[in-house]
Structure formats: structure tokens, C-alpha cells
């Protein structure tokens, strides 16, 4: 990841950390699922691709993604100047960074507790 991309990713990370809660469910497997579903759907919305939202579960992830993608477009104008391939790479990098901060690099000892 080059420096410019890194700066963009950090801006998005900072936004998610300041305004979202979905990335902080209490268990590791839960965070993996939340990050995967919501960031994938956000990427699809930013790329004008179809998004599954028929089941209650998908509908929930989609609702979060709708708000996040709208916020991204409003607060980071440079996103609208990116093409689909660039957006996908950006969102991949963002997902990796969020996964690191909330799962693989997390110091939270409760993440690996099996039961709720």
C-alpha cells in the first residue's frame, strides 16, 4: 500500500472508529462476520453493484452499509473520483486494517471466549 492509499485508509478507519459501533461486537467470530458483511456491502454500494438485502440478517448489514457508504461519499469527496477497481482495492485495504485493529491485533482478552 502506498502512502497516499494509506492516508485514505486511515481517514476511513478514523471515521468508522469515531461514528460506528458494528465493528466492536464482543467475540472474534462475530467481529469477523460484521466486518466482512458490512464492508463488502459498503463496497458494493460504492461501486453501484447489486447488494443482497432480502433476509433479515442481510437487511441489517445492508442498513449499516447504506449509512456508511453515504457518509463516505459525503465526507470524502475523493471517493467519487475513484473508479470501481480503485474503490475495491481501497475497501480491501480498509477491511484488512479494520480486521487488524479489532481482531488480529486486538488486545481484548474476551474476544476468544466461546460463549456470549
Amino acid at each position: 500500500m502506498d502512502e497516499i492509499q494509506q492516508k485514505k485508509v486511515e481517514q476511513l478507519v478514523n471515521y468508522i472508529m469515531k461514528w460506528s459501533l458494528w465493528q466492536f461486537n464482543s467475540r472474534e467470530w462475530d467481529r469477523e462476520k460484521q466486518n466482512e458483511e458490512i464492508l463488502t456491502k459498503t463496497m458494493q454500494l460504492l461501486c453501484d453493484e447489486p447488494v443482497e438485502n432480502e433476509t433479515p440478517e442481510d437487511r441489517y448489514y445492508w442498513s449499516e452499509a447504506m449509512v456508511l457508504s453515504s457518509d463516505f461519499k459525503t465526507n470524502f469527496e475523493w471517493i467519487s473520483q475513484m473508479n470501481k477497481t480503485e474503490i475495491k482495492t481501497l475497501m480491501d485495504d480498509l477491511k484488512n486494517r479494520i480486521d487488524y485493529l479489532t481482531i488480529t491485533g486486538s488486545l481484548n482478552a474476551e474476544l476468544k471466549v466461546n460463549r456470549y
Binding site: 472508529m17 461514528w19 459501533l21 461486537n25 433479515p56 441489517y60 449509512v67 488486545l107 481484548n108 456470549y116
Partner: protein, 509 residues
């Protein structure tokens, strides 16, 4: 790891890993204190016990229920009305408190008979109430009273009553948080699915982790109802016992305080497939996005948007009036659990205050992750602080105001630091658009209180200017702002009523 060692806690080396300072470039992978561990002997904690967490935080806000404490009278009396979880049924759960009043003889001979007599006596004293929750305490747990058996015996004899048994004695966890967990799981195991509700809308939610502090729940429920959503149950503020037995029938669990109630949302998701949606009811932007998310889920986003626009137009000029005057005010954000992260960023973004420290009494590391991620650089984050650490932090950081509970709040006053009650509020509700303005007004009144300013003068030694008149809070606050800009922007002080909740109870939708 940027741990912070308090001078007063050098003799308790285990405390070292319970406080961190968020330095430049630090994030939650390099800056996170330990959390939710047993309090270290010798450290005088501000925590409550697991009984308190179960009964007084989550159980007792249920409004149409006799809440009976099975233990010494002190367990219930000493914690009676510590919160202001009001209800729309004349505050039944708030006005009365019930205990079996165990004595030494019951420890020796058992107290199941006493429990049964107390249950029947309470039902007879309040014949209109047919629901009861009975709560284990350390004393009754240690002697092994079988509360479930007694409750079942009474229900067999009195078929029109229903009793919930909460086994969460005080020692059942490191803090009140252990009790939150236990009562969540007990409720979903014992009661959810035992009543089939009347569904009146195509859009049905449970509103979870909301305790109706000074009317928060009623304000938020008003928004949901205006969107056409049925609030099937609230867990538990202003909540009805039988509504909460039907939680399995909602389409969505809207979760406010994840610290105290994520467990039941997680279980409902696993057992019934109901999604969990975490929201923020505090602050204009978080609240607007929360309403929008709920609206999107049901296809009601237009209705959500209408509410957002109406409420923002009505209340934003008033929030701005206070925000202009609160800019740069230094705050220690020292609540119990969830407000640590609900407020950490938004009070800075929307009111301009600077969060110089945050702490949690009973939060887990997950709460600190959220709080530290949301606060700015330089903030001191403390897990389970003791009183001396709180004093040391206040003396070093010199905050203008702290948001905390009554006990540490009284300590702050002695140091001439203003405090706002983060648990029960001063002049709430604080949720909702109007509520957020009321919160800003309370901060303003605390920081610029003329009496507070005068209290800093010592007439025995300070020189008192006898030619200066009494200085009002407006004179103090407006000395440092651009008043013209405030007027041009149509900013104004709070214009709402003293009571902004009661009228909602008569509203039709």
C-alpha cells in the same frame, strides 16, 4: 504500552496495567487497559456488586412488577432509587421496594418459608400487580435456598401470578457487570417465548439496553412510533413484564447499551434469528443516523428523514448556542459503562468540549476499545479506578467538569470540580434532540455557575473587589465568544418545557 502509574497506587503494582494514556499515533492495538477483572484487594473500588447490577440496573426498571430482594433488608434499602428510571404507570417500581428481611436465624434455619410468606404477602398488599421478580443475594445464596422451587410452589397455588427468579448474588462476578450478564441470560432462558403478543404493525422492534432514565425511553419510543414502528418491548426501562416475555416476536433488536444488554440480543439472534442493531441515542448526528438505519431496515427511511429534519430544525439552533460557549471546556468522562463510548466523540464534535480522561467502573475491554478509539490524543483512560486515583487525576488534569456518578461526584465537589450525574442525569432526559440540548444546558450551567465561581474565593485571605456586582453565568460565558455571530446564526438558549416527557404519554399515532 503507554501505561500510566498513579503515585497513589505505587503500593498496588497490579494497578499499573489498568490505566493508559492515548499518545500520538497510539491506537487500540497498542493502548488498552485491562478490564473486567476482580478488584484488587486494597484498592477501594467504586464498583457495585453483581446483585446490584442484576436488580437495580436491569430488573427494577420493569414497571409492572413487584421486585423482591431475598436477603437482608440493607441489600435493597441501601440501593433503593439510586437511578431515576421513571415509568408511565405512576412509577410503581420506583416508589416501592420489597425485601424478605433475612436475619441471622434464617441463615441458621433456612429462609425458604420466609420467602414464600413474603411473596404471598407482597401479592396480597398489591393485588393489581400479578408479576414478580425475586432476586438472590449473597446471604440467601450461601445457605442454598431453592428460590426456583419456592416460586413454582407459589405459582401453582396462585395461577394468575408469574414469577421470575434471578440468581445473581453479589459475589457472582467482578462487578455489577456480572449481574447484567446473569439476568440477561436468565430472562431469555426462563421467560422469552412464554407469551404470544398482539402485533399491531408490520414493523416491530425490541428496544434493548434502554432504562428510561428521566424519560429517555419515552423520547426514543416517540420517534419509533412516529415512523409507524411497534415497540414490542423495552428491555427494561418503562418495560412491561409480559411484553418482555414476547421478545421473540420482534423483527429487529435495537440495542442502546451494549454493555448491559448485548447478551440478550446475541441470544435472540442465535435462537430466533432476530438481527441486532447497535444504535446511539445521544447526539444529533449519531441519533439521526440511528433513526435512519432503523428506517432503512424496514423501508421507512423517508419517515425517519422527516423526523430528523423536523427535530434538527427545531433544536439545532439551541444546541449551537451552548456549543459556542462550551468550546474548549475540559471534561473527565467518568461514567459507569456505555456512556464512555456513547459520548467520547460526539460531545467533542457537537459541543466542542475536550475529553481529557475517560474511565469505566465496570466496563470490559470492549468498552475501552470503543472509548479509546473515539477519544482524542492525550486522554487518560482508567479501568476500575479507586478514589485516590480519581483525586490524583483531577488534580493533574484540572478538568472544568466531570460526568460521573453520585459517589465520585461528591468527591469532585470537594476539590471544587463541577460534576454532572452521568447515570441518573441532572435535568434529563439526555437522549433525543431536545434531550441533547438539555445535556448541553446542564454542562453550561455547571461550568459557568456563578456560585461555583464565587466558591473559589477565600474571604479570609483573597482580595475581594467590592465595586464589582454579581456576575451572571451569561456574563462569564459571553465574555469569550463572538456574540454577533451567535445572533446572526439565530442561536438561542433552551426554550423547552421543564417536563418534556409526560405529554408524550397521551399522544396518539
Amino acid at each position: 504500552m503507554p501505561y500510566h502509574t498513579f503515585k497513589c497506587s505505587k503500593c498496588i503494582p497490579e494497578r499499573t496495567r489498568h490505566a493508559v494514556i492515548k499518545g500520538h499515533g497510539e491506537d487500540i492495538t497498542s493502548c488498552l487497559p485491562l478490564g473486567y477483572l476482580n478488584t484488587i484487594p486494597g484498592s477501594i473500588s467504586e464498583r457495585g456488586c453483581a446483585f446490584c447490577g442484576a436488580k437495580h440496573v436491569i430488573g427494577t426498571p420493569m414497571k409492572d412488577v413487584i421486585h423482591l430482594c431475598h436477603g437482608p433488608v440493607g441489600c435493597t434499602y441501601d440501593t433503593w432509587q439510586t437511578k431515576r428510571y421513571i415509568s408511565d404507570n405512576d412509577n410503581f417500581q420506583f416508589k416501592y421496594t420489597f425485601a424478605t428481611d433475612m436475619k441471622e436465624k434464617h441463615i441458621v434455619f433456612g429462609s425458604e418459608k420466609l420467602l414464600k410468606e413474603s411473596i404471598i404477602e407482597a401479592f396480597k398488599a398489591f393485588p393489581e400487580i400479578k408479576r414478580m421478580a425475586i432476586y438472590q443475594t449473597c446471604a440467601s445464596a450461601l445457605i442454598g435456598d431453592d428460590m426456583d422451587a419456592v416460586a413454582q410452589e407459589v405459582m401453582n397455588e396462585m395461577p394468575d401470578v408469574d414469577i421470575f427468579v434471578c440468581n445473581s448474588p453479589g459475589f457472582a462476578g467482578p462487578s455489577q457487570s456480572g449481574g447484567h450478564h446473569k439476568i440477561n441470560i436468565a430472562w431469555v432462558n426462563q421467560k422469552v417465548g412464554t407469551v404470544e403478543p398482539k402485533i399491531t404493525s408490520d414493523y416491530v422492534i425490541n428496544y434493548v439496553g434502554e432504562y428510561n432514565i428521566q424519560g429517555d425511553q419515552e423520547v426514543m419510543a416517540d420517534y419509533f412510533k412516529r415512523m409507524g414502528i411497534q415497540v414490542l418491548s423495552t428491555f427494561t426501562g418503562n418495560g412491561s413484564y409480559d411484553d418482555l416475555r414476547s421478545m421473540h416476536k420482534a423483527d429487529l433488536n435495537v440495542l442502546e447499551c451494549a454493555r448491559s444488554a448485548e447478551y440478550i440480543c446475541n441470544e435472540l439472534r442465535v435462537r430466533y434469528g432476530t438481527p441486532r442493531m447497535d444504535i446511539d441515542g445521544f447526539g444529533f448526528k449519531p441519533l439521526s443516523e440511528s433513526l435512519l438505519k432503523v428506517g432503512l431496515f424496514f423501508g421507512l427511511e423517508d419517515k425517519a428523514q422527516k423526523i430528523i429534519e423536523e427535530e434538527t430544525a427545531r433544536w439545532k439552533p439551541e444546541l449551537d448556542w451552548y456549543a459556542r460557549r462550551l468550546k474548549g471546556v475540559k471534561v473527565c468522562l467518568w461514567p459507569g459503562g456505555s456512556k464512555l463510548w456513547h459520548w467520547a466523540n460526539v460531545i467533542h464534535e457537537e459541543m466542542g468540549v475536550e475529553v481529557v480522561s475517560l474511565y469505566t467502573k465496570f466496563g470490559h475491554q470492549g468498552d475501552m476499545e470503543k472509548g479509546i478509539a473515539r477519544c482524542g490524543e492525550g486522554a487518560l483512560a482508567i479501568d476500575d479506578p479507586n478514589e485516590l486515583e480519581g483525586i490524583e487525576a483531577m488534580m493533574e488534569l484540572q478538568p472544568d467538569v466531570i460526568f460521573t456518578g453520585v459517589r465520585p461526584g461528591e468527591v469532585a465537589k470537594k476539590l471544587r470540580v463541577q460534576y454532572l450525574n452521568a447515570h441518573a442525569y441532572h435535568n434529563g432526559p439526555y437522549k433525543g434532540y431536545e434531550g441533547w440540548v438539555r445535556f448541553a444546558r446542564d454542562i453550561y450551567n455547571a461550568v459557568y455557575s456563578p456560585i461555583h465561581q464565587l466558591s473559589g474565593l477565600d474571604i479570609s485571605k483573597d482580595e475581594i473587589d467590592m465595586n464589582t456586582g454579581f456576575v451572571t453565568k451569561n456574563i462569564i460565558s459571553d465574555a469569550k465568544i463572538d456574540k454577533e455571530a451567535s445572533i446572526t446564526n439565530n442561536e438561542r438558549e433552551y426554550t423547552g418545557k421543564y417536563d418534556c416527557v409526560t405529554h408524550l404519554r397521551d399522544k396518539t399515532y
